[in-house]
């Protein structure tokens, strides 16, 4: 009961956040975003035709009226039709979000799991050569542009100039085998980059935890390293780890992975979002921004509940 009450309180408290995010982003879209008018026009348009297109796109209506409509769309989850393709925005997201999830989930899980494992190992061997090697690898992962990593992995693993093991691009998935073939290279590329950031962050958290009195005491009692790391360090470091993982989820779900999707020709939500940004497709952008804000509120709620689950000292009040 306490959890339900807390959830309701938290969701109601999230409304101002959603309003703020949607208002600012809509303001930016309307006044600073791309203007579709001239892309929608044919050659040699007359001023009347320009006015007609602006009207058709809704650009001629007052900002607040448009914003109110946006909120209504968000409340009903009906974002209308894409200004570019004419396709239902809901259908576009319904089609592309599962693809993005299927694409990024393995990398997301592996990137975090391996990140925690490597961080534990590095922290345990703090200042030793193992720690330095892992941190060196992390810095490499962080330093190389994601685009370069993608191209390098694509050439090395997929192209005729490399091992030629996987498809260069596309998403023609009809079986588990297809899935493994199409997801492997993007996953390896994203894990390579994510590991750098994750390992450094988690190591810092774990090292801090290792300096606590109870860890020193546990060591003095001769607790085995595995048990020490898992029970006395990792569990106590769970809150920042959960925070980092949870707050990545909305972006993973709604924004997908733009570079990976573009470069590997995968029709996920990242590509849909990117196309909407560059073309000024406001119905799609409104949906993505609004849903991301809502997901963040939900994530805040779930994260708080998880805090309580891993640390009973945390009160939901």
């Amino acid at each position: 009961m306490e959890v339900i009450k807390y959830a309701i309180r938290k969701l109601v408290g999230g409304i101002p956040l959603i309003l703020g995010v949607t208002f600012v982003s809509f303001l930016l879209m309307v006044y600073f975003g791309p203007d579709l008018t001239f892309e929608m026009l044919g050659k040699n348009p007359t001023p009347e035709q320009i006015a007609e297109v602006r009207k058709e796109l809704g650009y001629d209506r007052p900002f607040l009226v448009r914003y109110a409509e946006y909120l209504k769309e968000l409340a009903t989850l009906d974002f209308g039709l894409s200004d570019s393709s004419g396709e239902s925005v809901s259908a576009m997201l319904t089609r592309s979000i599962p693809i993005s999830l299927a694409l990024v989930t393995p990398g997301f899980i592996l990137g975090n799991l391996l990140g925690v494992l490597l961080a534990l190992v590095a922290a345990y061997h703090r200042s030793g050569w193992i720690d330095k090697a892992i941190m060196g690898f992390s810095v490499v992962g962080m330093s190389i542009s994601f685009l370069i990593v993608i191209i390098a992995f694509q050439i090395l693993l997929s192209s005729s100039y490399g091992l030629n093991l996987f498809p260069v691009r596309g998403w023609n998935v009809h079986s588990l085998y297809d899935y493994v073939m199409y997801v492997t290279v993007p996953t390896l590329a994203s894990v390579f980059v994510a590991l750098g950031y994750n390992t450094r962050f988690y190591r810092a958290v774990i090292v801090e935890e290792m300096t606590r009195d109870h860890v020193r005491t546990a060591r003095a009692f001769g607790i085995r390293p595995g048990k020490l790391l898992y029970k006395h360090i990792l569990k106590n470091a769970a809150i920042p780890i959960i925070t980092r993982i949870m707050f990545s989820i909305p972006l993973v779900i709604v924004s997908g992975s733009l570079l990976i999707e573009s470069y590997f020709g995968i029709p996920g939500v990242g590509k849909v979002t990117f196309d909407a940004i560059t073309t000024g497709d406001q119905p799609v952008l409104k949906a993505v921004v609004g849903l991301t804000a809502v997901l963040f509120v939900i994530t805040l709620l779930v994260t708080d509940i998880l805090y309580r689950a891993v640390d009973p000292r945390v009160s939901l009040k």
């Binding site: 348009p45 592309s96 005729s160």
Partner: protein
């Protein structure tokens, strides 16, 4: 393809990508011959060429009987019904209905009797248009306000694709992603990464006569098109067009050998594939695995001065107007086309004077190339003799979309200007996040110079000459805002003339006016190189309205 269409609704088929996909799902009355170069028009859904009245104002076009739309739930019993003349009438009317978000009205605006009035009266599809009628089930009649020799070309555009009214009305704007046509293929899936078609098994049986399609055994025998002689297209069961903007990804996919089978070669790969640039010859390892074709594009790249800017163009002060012209001429003299060609087009582009491109029959190969020759001393002298110096030269804002190549174009331009004494700090870059924002500013006449590329809509120099026709000024395509009464008079005179030596002469006079008035730094037609796998029988193309060739593509028997 190196880009993607935003929709596959024919009313929005505004670029080569959209045309390529639309023309494979829909029928047009006419099309361009598969193999003939220069381009020649031929019948498609129409029966023969149109009957044209002596005064050139009335066109009668018969369409083929027994042609059906693909099966779709919008039809009774889900069976595609016959394509009739009224479908064509409806399809053109859509361009005059704002709710359809059309982009092709410019092709027929002010041309067909009653069509503009039909729009003004509210675009009621139940109302007849005097000049656009189905006079029986299979005959179309078009009545023009004045002769329009390019009309037949417009009927080969993706914009003129024939759609069934019931599908448009049922699907609304989602029709843009649910095509219902009568073309050689039917779309089975479409998203931002690719479109997949399968063969339209109901497509009419019309055996190919490669000779009638313009087959030239001297230049085309090596691609194997003889194999399709006498057979009815389409030949392939399944067609996938992948939209791959990233050059490296496109190239890797092509060379992998089991993914995409055709591409327009990215410029940065020219060095890797060519053994010789003049003549263009592929390296042995390339010619062993792939077919190669090259052609000069139909369009061109050029830079306009915006004559609306008193600092460069028209000015109320006659003396300043004269000096502005000198300034423009000096900039043109200082522009190094050879360097531009070498730096960005691997030296394979074709530089030519003026705005009539080498791809059209009206091109004049004898025209003086003075306007595209680098003459730094001449430019400096012009500036010095007319009082232009570091202090008096006006600031020039160079607008472009954000991107590495675009930035390099600007830097090179600034370098050219520096050589003639134009202070580098007065050549200012203005970058736009999106192409739409750039177009918005050029359409609203907010940039003093406009660097652009133009793809020909049809093989007639009128298509580029209209870029400098006064009434087409901003927000129209004359973003130079050139306003020369004599030019406009000649344009109007030639606009109603059929192709003839007299019309060509007028076109060339207009071209010379643009050169003499120093309105544009023009121009260069890029050479495109196409590669395709040896197991593919095709002559790929992406010029004019790309896409018609795909129905003729075949795969060598026994190949995957």
């Amino acid at each position: 393809m190196d880009g993607a269409p935003s929709t596959i609704d024919p009313v929005q088929a505004s670029n080569v990508y959209a045309n390529a996909v639309v023309l494979n799902a829909y029928d047009t009355l006419y099309r361009f011959k598969y193999l003939a170069r220069p381009y020649e028009i031929t019948e498609n859904l129409a029966v023969g060429m149109p009957e044209i009245s002596v005064d050139g104002l009335v066109y009668r076009i018969r369409i083929k009987e027994g042609v059906h739309f693909i099966d779709d739930p919008v039809f009774d019993g889900g069976k595609g019904r016959e394509v009739v003349a009224e479908d064509f009438v409806y399809s053109i009317k859509r361009h005059f209905d704002t709710a359809q978000r059309p982009r092709g009205a410019w092709l027929w605006q002010g041309r067909i009797i009653g069509l503009d009035g039909w729009k003004e009266a509210g675009s009621d599809y139940n109302e007849q248009v005097e000049g656009l009628r189905a006079i029986d089930r299979h005959t179309i009649e078009i009545r023009l306000i004045k002769p329009y020799p390019q009309l037949i070309y417009t009927l080969a555009q993706g914009y003129a694709s024939i759609v069934p009214r019931e599908a448009v009305e049922t699907y609304g704007r989602e029709f843009g992603s649910r095509p219902v046509g009568s073309g050689p293929f039917r779309v089975t899936s479409y998203d931002s990464a690719r479109i997949v078609y399968e063969k339209n098994t109901k497509f009419r049986q019309e055996p190919v006569d490669i000779w009638a399609e313009g087959y030239d055994p001297v230049t085309q025998a090596h691609i194997g098109v003889e194999a399709i002689q006498g057979r009815s297209p389409p030949f392939i069961e399944r067609l996938e067009i992948h939209f791959i903007a990233e050059n490296a990804a496109r190239w890797n996919s092509f060379t992998k050998d089991n993914e995409i089978q055709y591409l327009t070669v990215p410029n940065e790969q020219y060095d890797n594939i060519l053994a010789s640039k003049d003549p263009i010859v592929a390296k042995p390892e390339i010619s062993e695995k792939y077919h190669l074709r090259h052609s000069v594009e139909s369009g061109f790249v050029f830079i306009n001065f915006n004559m609306n800017f008193p600092e460069f163009g028209y000015n109320d002060d006659p003396e300043r107007a004269r000096r502005n012209k000198v300034l423009r001429c000096a900039v043109i003299k200082g522009f190094d086309w050879a360097r531009r060609n070498e730096s960005f087009y691997f030296g394979l582009g074709r530089v030519f004077p003026g705005i009539i491109t080498p791809a059209v029959p009206e091109f004049d190969p004898e025209l003086s190339e003075e306007s595209v020759k680098l003459d730094i001393d001449g430019a400096k002298k012009l500036l010095a003799d007319n009082g232009w110096n570091e202090d008096t030269i006006p600031e020039m804002v160079y607008g472009t979309t954000a991107g590495v190549n675009q930035r390099m174009f600007y830097e090179q331009f600034r370098g050219f200007m520096k050589k003639i004494g134009y202070p580098p700090d007065k050549v200012v870059l203005k970058q736009y996040a999106t192409f739409g924002d750039f177009i918005k500013d050029t359409s609203n006449s907010r940039l003093p110079i406009v660097a652009k590329g133009w793809t020909l809509d049809y093989p007639d120099a009128e298509n580029t000459l209209q870029l400098f026709y006064g009434p087409n000024g901003s927000p129209g395509s004359n973003d130079a805002n050139y306003n020369n009464p004599e030019y406009d008079r000649l344009y109007e005179q030639s606009a109603i003339m059929l192709p003839s030596p007299e019309r060509t002469e007028i076109y060339r006079r207009m071209n010379q006016m643009v050169i003499d008035d120093c309105i544009a730094i023009a121009g260069l037609s890029r050479t495109r190189i196409y590669l395709w796998h040896k197991n593919v029988i095709a002559m790929p193309d992406r010029e004019i309205v790309s896409g018609f060739y795909i129905r003729f593509v075949d795969i060598v028997a026994g190949a995957d």
